[in-house]
């Protein structure tokens, strides 16, 4: 007799185990859903009251009612655009090197493997570490300049020493450097300055005719200035010495250092500006972009590569005409998800920018800035409960931006995905 021990009871046990396992799974899944729902519910409950147009277009304020997050939004987007425009080309380039140009030489292949290993490791490095790296590399360029506030090289900026002249107007003296130790103007009669009240240096040899004209105006101005301001006839004399004219600086003149920056102002090192922030975010997301691009390139079937090569393509033509176009949907999706990571990063920005209370939007690449997570961090850390509601509104805005990024990634993936060979 064949024995089939306890067939039925074991089957029953198995069924119970099967059912209970499903229950465990459902419980596990619902835990996360409940947590997420509670989180979103709480945030919406706290933050919706404060969320309005004024909040989106306003600047941070000492009072919670007036607080807005426009500078933080603009700063985040600005830094993200910089990050994307650097990280995406670099990342795709690296991925192409790693996937499409595998070296045959044994030592080069070892180097190749080493790079690959490093990139995989970099993806797991905490973002604070990148913040410190960015501080050293981009903010101070490894200490090339003694002070972060005094860049070694600057382009697109003019520095001035500003004085009051006798009539109470400003006179600006152009300087070569912000920290120039010399004060150009001394008390007394100084010379000629131009229509914008800036000091103009004219060399008599170069343009005798102009110099003659200047001299004449200079003399007229002196004549005007010899008439004391409270004496009769001063107004007429002053008007006669029409601008541009020579002037007189008061004895108490103390220069005020000012600078005028163009919208393309660039300085090296970058200082604590948007550019340094964006570049640091680039360091954070670069490994992610490289790895996702590599995966998309690897998904392109080899038969397509062989087909193009067999037609007489160079490697470059193969990459440009076949591999890259086939992989671009995946690369785009990966890059957009990497960007949503960048926009949510607080730690590296905190190290780079440092300051959170910024009431203006950045105007050039070197301008101080703040980012949304940082602004939220600031609000949430304040003792007044009114600011906690403001922080909740900020979180809603941040989540909205993140979700729209993710939605964009999904749309791109679905629109451009097509079957490959």
């Amino acid at each position: 007799m064949n024995q089939r021990p306890q067939a039925y009871s074991s089957r029953r046990k198995r069924r119970i185990l099967d059912r209970s396992f499903v229950i465990v799974c459902v419980a596990a899944a619902s835990m996360s859903i409940v947590a997420l729902t509670v989180l979103i519910g709480a945030i919406l409950y706290q933050g919706m009251g404060h969320l309005d147009w004024a909040f989106l277009t306003g600047s941070p304020s000492r009072s919670a009612e007036k607080a807005g997050m426009l500078p933080a939004m603009v700063g985040s987007i600005y830094a993200c655009v910089i990050c994307a425009s650097v990280a995406i080309p670099l990342g795709i380039g690296t991925a192409i090197l790693l996937e499409e140009y595998r070296p045959k030489n044994r030592w080069l292949a070892k180097a190749h493997q080493f790079i690959q290993l490093n990139i995989t490791n970099l993806a797991g490095v905490p973002s604070v570490v990148y913040g410190i790296l960015g501080l050293t590399a981009f903010v101070s360029f490894f200490g090339v300049s003694s002070s972060v506030n005094e860049p070694a090289w600057e382009f697109g900026v003019s520095h001035y020493d500003e004085f009051f002249d006798m009539t109470g107007d400003y006179v600006s003296v152009p300087l070569s450097k912000r920290s120039s130790p010399t004060v150009e103007l001394r008390e007394g009669l100084q010379g000629y300055w131009g229509p914008q009240r800036e000091m103009v240096t004219l060399k008599p040899v170069e343009d005798p005719a102009r110099w003659k004209q200047v001299k004449q105006q200079f003399d007229e101005a002196i004549a005007a200035l010899t008439v004391q301001p409270d004496a009769p006839g001063y107004e007429q004399a002053h008007a006669a010495a029409a601008r541009p004219f020579a002037g007189y600086v008061r004895a108490s003149a103390q220069p005020i250092r000012t600078s005028e920056k163009a919208h393309w102002y660039v300085c090296i090192p970058f200082g604590r500006g948007v550019l340094a922030g964006g570049m640091t975010l680039m360091l954070v997301v670069l490994p992610i972009i490289i790895i996702s691009s590599q995966e998309s390139l690897r998904a392109v079937p080899n038969s397509l590569r062989h087909g193009t090569l067999a037609l007489g393509c160079t490697r470059w033509q193969m990459v440009w005409k076949m591999t890259l176009p086939s992989a671009i949907p995946g690369i785009m999706t990966g890059s957009i998800l990497a960007m949503s990571r960048a926009i949510g990063e607080a730690a590296p920005i905190l190290i780079i920018a440092g300051i959170v209370y910024i009431t203006f939007t950045p105007e050039h690449l070197m301008d101080d800035f703040t980012a949304m997570p940082l602004q939220i961090f600031d609000w949430a850390g304040r003792p007044q409960t009114a600011f906690h509601h403001v922080a909740a509104s900020g979180i809603i805005v941040l989540l909205a931006v993140l979700l729209s990024f993710n939605a964009l990634a999904v749309i791109i993936r679905q629109k451009t995905q097509k079957p490959l060979g």
Binding site: R102, K104, A109, P301, S303, L304, H306, G307, T308, L309, A310, L311, G312, C313, T314, Q317, K321, M322, S326, K418, P419, L420, G421
Partner: protein
């Protein structure tokens, strides 16, 4: 029913009847060579050896592949047929461990020369792969891919080349109304004929086919054999096949490889009806392999 249809096609092109060997129901044409004229050599191999790392894949192959003929490589799996084929357009360069010694000349040009530009070689030697690999582009762009790479052409010239290539691969009538559609929508056999059209659009001298019909149904196979028959006057065709019938039907010359050695090479008719080597006979009659 497709099988009988393919045989019909084969029978239709047979010009004179021969006594077929019992194992293979194929009849042979009388080739020019029977009249005593040997065709000029396109590819010349002497003491050709190939390795993958330490594995010696091909041993001392000597072979003259004639111009404007169909030459078939037959042999069991792993005998080195594909390796031999892939050296002709240096696709083996993609395998890091692959290397070759000896002589491999295309019209006197040393193909193993490290300084020789493989890109130019691959323009002169087209290839059709085992699995159809149309590019994820339109039918037109697939065929125009090669010409666009190598020549600066006007729109109308390109149109002409595309039409001619598709006509030559007998695909024109099926696709002429949907040239802008994706090539991936074609059937397997159509895709393979598209790949042939793509290869010949680049105007190669030699056309390599690596088991072009192994992924196809008999009807498509017949269409491709018919196509090879049309192309044989203009191109030197080298084909690797596992299908004995196909080698017998479609080729002028036949090489039997076994474990990396060239066992027999000669006129297809002679190889199939009167093999000199016992191994060849055993293989083609199906006793092994």
């Amino acid at each position: 029913m497709p099988m009988t249809q393919s045989e019909d096609i084969v029978r239709n092109k047979v010009s004179s009847a021969h006594v077929a060997p019992p194992a293979l129901q194929v009849e042979f044409e009388d080739s020019d060579e029977a009249a005593g004229q040997a065709p000029p050599t396109a590819l010349k191999l002497q003491k050709f050896n190939s390795w993958y790392g330490n594995y010696h894949a091909l041993h001392d192959i000597d072979m003259d592949i004639p111009e404007k003929r169909v030459t078939a490589y037959i042999g069991p799996s792993g005998c080195g047929k594909s390796t031999l084929l892939r050296w002709i357009n240096r696709m083996n360069d993609l395998i890091p461990s692959a290397r070759a010694t000896g002589m491999l000349h295309l019209h006197g040009l040393d193909l193993l020369d490290r300084d020789y530009d493989v890109v130019d070689l691959r323009r002169r030697v087209g290839m059709v792969f085992q699995k159809p690999n149309p590019f994820p582009k339109s039918i037109y762009d697939n065929v125009a891919f090669g010409p666009r790479l190598h020549m600066r052409l006007s729109r109308s010239d390109l149109d002409q080349i595309v039409e001619r290539s598709l006509r030559r691969s007998s695909l024109w009538d099926e696709v002429k109304d949907r040239l802008k559609d994706s090539a991936l929508g074609l059937s397997g056999g159509q895709q393979q004929r598209l790949c042939i059209a793509r290869a010949i659009a680049a105007e190669p001298e030699v056309l390599l086919m690596d088991e072009p019909c192994s992924a196809l149904d008999p009807k498509s196979t017949a269409a491709i054999e018919e196509l090879m028959d049309e192309l044989r006057n203009d191109y030197t065709i080298v084909i690797v096949t596992h299908n004995m019938q196909q080698a017998a039907r479609a080729s002028d010359y036949c090489a039997f490889l076994f474990q990396g050695d060239l066992i027999e090479f000669g006129d297809t008719k002679q190889v199939f009806t009167n093999p000199r080597n016992e191994q060849t006979e055993n293989y083609i009659t199906g006793r092994f392999g």
